[in-house]
């Protein structure tokens, strides 16, 4: 068990490092960021001085080594444009991102799982068809269109909800629904198919034959087994959840790290970009790692296989 955890953790760390190296080297191969920072142009002397100041004149491996050394000291760099430590910039914004993601995640589970159960239990009825149709639309329509449509209807048409910012609870409603839409739809679909699989199992018939109440059969015997694959899928899809939150933050001008990251892309603010990569990759890798470990802990059958 410990071996397994150590092996997975090592791989997770390696992933983050590899991504970082790719970004670091790729970014520096394609032009001097100093030129992008001062589009009005610099004299050759100024450019040389700035290039030296940022350590961009050294060889690539050397730069990367310096960067890694600084990282290990907890120094993640200073934004070229804002002249502040990137950790500070991300620190200010990370709260908004996490609270939005937490709300959306909760909403998608609270709505998605029951919908999936209903669709499985009331199979071949109008209710089930309706649920699956809604899930299909929720899955096929992109975040930004759902978000924009919500803004059009509830902010501009009815003036019920604010369209940008994150100050009050009202601000949370539309971004949460938008971000949760895809997850909700896919959780409903996976819960349904996994529930259908479980419903036809022998142990379900046994449970019924024992004379257990239908509710106990469905929830205690059925749902508990049906949710195992759903948990895995949730873990695997954390990457697409991060993608969604980057877009949703831009739609609703949500002051989170996703928006910060998108902004740094076009401005070629490399320290911000690099720290963003570290953050997002670390989140995904960490969640995947936790799901892997949890999965082994939860399901004794997998532990037996190892």
């Amino acid at each position: 068990m410990l071996n397994f955890i150590a092996w997975r953790f090592g791989r997770a760390l390696l992933t983050v490092l590899a991504v970082l190296a790719a970004v670091f080297i790729g970014a520096r191969l394609t032009g001097n960021p100093v030129e992008v920072m001062f589009p009005e142009g610099l004299t050759p002397e100024q450019e040389k001085a700035l290039t030296e100041q940022y350590g961009l004149n050294k060889s690539l491996p050397e730069q990367f080594a310096v960067y890694l050394r600084e990282l290990s000291r907890g120094n993640f760099g200073i934004s070229h444009l804002e002249k502040r430590p990137v950790v500070e910039m991300f620190g200010e914004d990370v709260g908004a991102t996490v609270s939005l993601a937490a709300c959306a995640f909760t909403l998608s589970i609270v709505v998605g799982v029951p919908l999936g159960i209903v669709a499985a239990l009331r199979r071949r009825t109008g209710v089930a068809r309706l649920v699956m149709a809604v899930a299909f639309f929720g899955y096929a329509i992109p975040h930004f269109i759902i978000g924009i449509t919500l803004i059009l209807v509830f902010s501009y048409q009815f003036h019920w909800l604010p369209s940008t910012g994150s100050e009050t609870l009202w601000h949370y409603i539309m971004p949460t629904i938008t971000l949760a839409s895809h997850r909700m739809a896919s959780i409903a679909r996976y819960t349904r198919s996994s529930m259908l699989d479980v419903l036809s199992q022998d142990f379900m018939r046994t449970a019924r034959a024992k004379g257990l109440a239908e509710l106990v059969v469905v929830f205690k015997h059925g749902l508990r087994n049906a949710l195992i694959p759903v948990v895995t899928i949730l873990g695997l899809q954390i990457a697409s959840f991060v993608n969604g939150s980057i877009i949703v933050e831009s739609v609703f001008a949500w002051p989170g790290i996703g928006r910060l990251f998108v902004g740094s892309v076009l401005k070629r603010d490399f320290p911000v970009l690099q720290f963003g990569v570290i953050c997002f990759t670390a989140i995904v890798v960490l969640v995947n790692f936790l799901v892997d470990v949890l999965y082994v802990v939860i399901d004794p059958r997998i532990r037996a296989e190892k």
Partner: protein, 315 residues
């Protein structure tokens, strides 16, 4: 070739009854029971036929954009600024979906944007699938270290959010259309690689592969003539299902302002630009958004149907 050792010892594996009988003679690979597919296609539900017709109409409109679009998409007209669609009061006849803040016809712009978006998505899907399928087949045929390395890269890509890769790529290489095509295509190569590798592994133990090995066929020939035709249908299904995803990726990027750059119109870009005028001119956002939803929903539905008809297990 030594690496091919694995072909010599076939393992008995359960083969699906629906799979076409092995085609032991090279050259017969093309004669698969096509008829059944067309029979099933003709018996498709009306909704699928509707979707296919919508796709066909939109594709024709995109291809023949210069003849279909009522106006030049970039022609501004100060007199006809901010006209709503024709069914709204104040709408101008001739501008079916209204005009934007510069007096450009929204319908014409949508048709040209459709051309750009669908074009990028299509070339991107082909690009990504060629890379993915080649690496997947390579992985499945050669096995050993090649397989391990390719699968390691797949795992690697699976564990980072692809939007991150694309954004980084854009930050590094800029937003030229070829760069965009390559990036949105590459974003999903790993799905094709995993699918085709799995398919190769399940096909390679068949007697016809063994026969080909016995007749001295090279790795190349086995991969191209014997294995590829047999794994083609799930890949076609995946292509169909992947197309809307790639289209949405490009639209999302353009919407964020980091995809297709003006003056070229793409559907996502139009939604993004229209956002600034949403208060007064909702049609600038709704029209391109409707086109995006129409295309993706139709292709997705056809893809789902194809998957059920061809009976492929995609994860």
């Amino acid at each position: 070739m030594k690496i091919l050792g694995g072909f010599g010892k076939p393992q008995k594996r359960g083969r699906k009854a629906s799979e076409p009988e092995a085609t032991p003679v090279a050259g017969c690979a093309g004669k698969r029971p096509r008829m059944t597919f067309w029979h099933r296609a003709l018996g498709a539900p009306a909704s699928i036929k509707l979707c296919v017709s919508v796709i066909a109409v939109l594709a024709l409109a995109a291809i023949f954009a210069p003849y279909v679009a009522p106006y030049d998409p970039d022609k501004t007209s100060i007199l006809a600024r901010n006209a709503p669609p024709f069914w709204v009061t104040g709408g101008k006849a001739g501008y079916l979906l209204g005009t934007d803040q510069l007096g450009r016809d929204v319908l014409s712009r949508c048709i040209y944007a459709l051309r750009v978006s669908v074009g990028i998505a299509m070339v991107g899907v082909i690009f990504g699938s060629v890379i993915g399928v080649s690496l997947g087949v390579l992985s499945g045929v050669l096995r050993g270290w090649t397989d391990r390395i390719i699968m390691m890269v797949v795992d690697f890509q699976l564990s980072i959010p692809f939007l991150l890769i694309v954004l980084i790529g854009i930050a590094i290489f800029g937003t030229d259309i070829p760069v965009l095509i390559a990036l949105v295509g590459v974003a999903y190569w790993e799905t094709y690689a995993r699918l085709s590798r799995g398919q190769v592994l399940s096909v390679r133990d068949n007697a016809f592969v063994e026969a080909a090995v016995a007749m001295g066929a090279t790795n190349w020939r086995i991969a191209l003539r014997h294995i590829l035709p047999n794994i083609a249908s799930p890949i076609i299904v995946l292509l169909t299902l992947n197309f809307p995803t790639v289209l949405l990726l490009e639209s999302s990027l353009s919407f964020l302002g980091i995809g297709v750059q003006p003056p070229t119109a793409s559907l996502g870009r139009m939604v993004g630009d229209g956002r600034n005028y949403m208060m007064s001119a909702w049609w600038l956002v709704i029209s391109p958004a409707a086109f995006i939803v129409l295309v993706t929903l139709c292709v997705q539905l056809v893809g789902d149907w194809l998957r059920d008809v061809i009976d492929v297990k995609l994860d």
